[in-house]
Subunit: 200 residues, 2 copies
DNA sequence: AATTTTATACCGAACGTTCGGTTTGTTGTT
DNA sequence: AACAACAAACCGAACGTTCGGTATAAAATT
């Protein structure tokens, strides 16, 4: 892809991760990119088109590739998951940059919610990803039951959901907190809690 | 409070629950309320003032009153919690109204995130509420441990967090789904899963 | 090799529209 | 008469977008 276009995309993603669609103005986009209005409209037909491309980019980069996850034990799996999340978030934060106090003013759910609300066709991205998540977790949990790593009356799906609910829930807590405890620490703590109550 | 002012507040809350701050225009507010601009600015000095009042209203109505919750057993407590959520959500949905297909286009997190992002002073509302939540859950969990209702190596706070993470996580899943399964059903299912793995 | 043509990247003023907000005037109540 | 409650016309600023034009360099023609 063109270098300038990529520059616009990256700069705009920063903005759309911090503000709503309408909050981000064309003025700000061209100022932050260092380009002119004319240059922008040479690469994109509209602000809406740019937004859609960015959301696509965002959803793609958020998709988890489970193929390289260890599947031998649930414990190593969820530890790997937490580490994967740490790296993914770190990349995002690096892109956006954090404020001096270290607090993060970025909320991934915000862009996700607004994108789906504005263009419902993006919902299928989310559903697909969730199905992949469930499948990956169920597979590992099933295996952990068979090997005797864990023991529970709950179904594989129920346990999988529990872990995934925490992924979202912990993040919500993280954004709505003073952010003194890192996301990955809280997530690992939550996972450990679930796990220790499943231990055979 | 004045009837007309309440009418403006209620009508605007509907809008702010479905769209971002900037998406909601003064034009739409006066159209939906059936009033004129002059009438609106008779009751509010600005759109921002209205927004802040609405967010206050939203946070207040979202605050959970735990004083009437049963504290004798964890199971009855979380069942009561789910029922409480059901009623709270039902009230909100009733206020906003649902589309013909029954799907809900309302996202409570959206207004919460945007309000905190726009006016950081609202964050303390969230922190206060979360502390109250934790306290209430910890108390019940502690009691459940003492009576022998549950048995676990996890701390009271860890278990409390688990339940609360699910509250948020299940809701996120609900909005980002086809919404064929109700929120309270999914939440109860999640709570039951946690509980059954804590059972003595 | 020199010259013309064409394509790409970019600029910034200007456009029509919409924004939140104000002013002025009318109606109804006390 | 005074004031609250509203309506309607209006305001300047800001919005996303368009448009005429420039700079540069590669491609085509002579």
């Amino acid at each position: 892809m063109n270098e300038t276009k990529e520059h616009i995309l990256r700069t705009s993603l920063k903005l759309f991760l911090q503000m709503s669609y309408k909050d981000v103005t064309m003025k700000e986009i061209v100022e932050k990119t260092g380009l002119s209005k004319g240059a922008f409209y040479h690469y994109f037909t509209s602000k809406e088109e740019l937004y859609k491309e960015i959301v696509n980019l965002f959803f793609s980069s958020g998709a988890i590739d489970y193929t390289r996850f260890p599947g031998d034990s649930l414990k190593t799996f969820y530890n790997h998951y937490v580490e994967y999340m740490r790296i993914t978030f770190h990349k995002m934060y690096e892109l956006v940059g954090v404020s001096k106090d270290g607090k993060v003013s970025v909320n991934f759910f915000l862009i996700m919610f607004e994108a789906v609300g504005r263009f419902p066709e993006f919902l299928k991205f989310e559903l697909e990803q969730h199905n992949k998540d469930i499948d990956a977790w169920v597979k590992v949990i099933k295996h952990a039951k068979e090997t005797g790593e864990i023991k529970t009356v709950s179904s594989d799906e129920q346990i999988a959901n529990l872990f995934l609910y925490c992924t979202d829930g912990v993040f919500i807590r993280f954004v709505n907190s003073d952010q003194n405890t890192s996301y990955e620490t809280s997530l690992l703590n939550a996972f450990d809690s679930i796990y220790s109550n499943l231990k055979a």
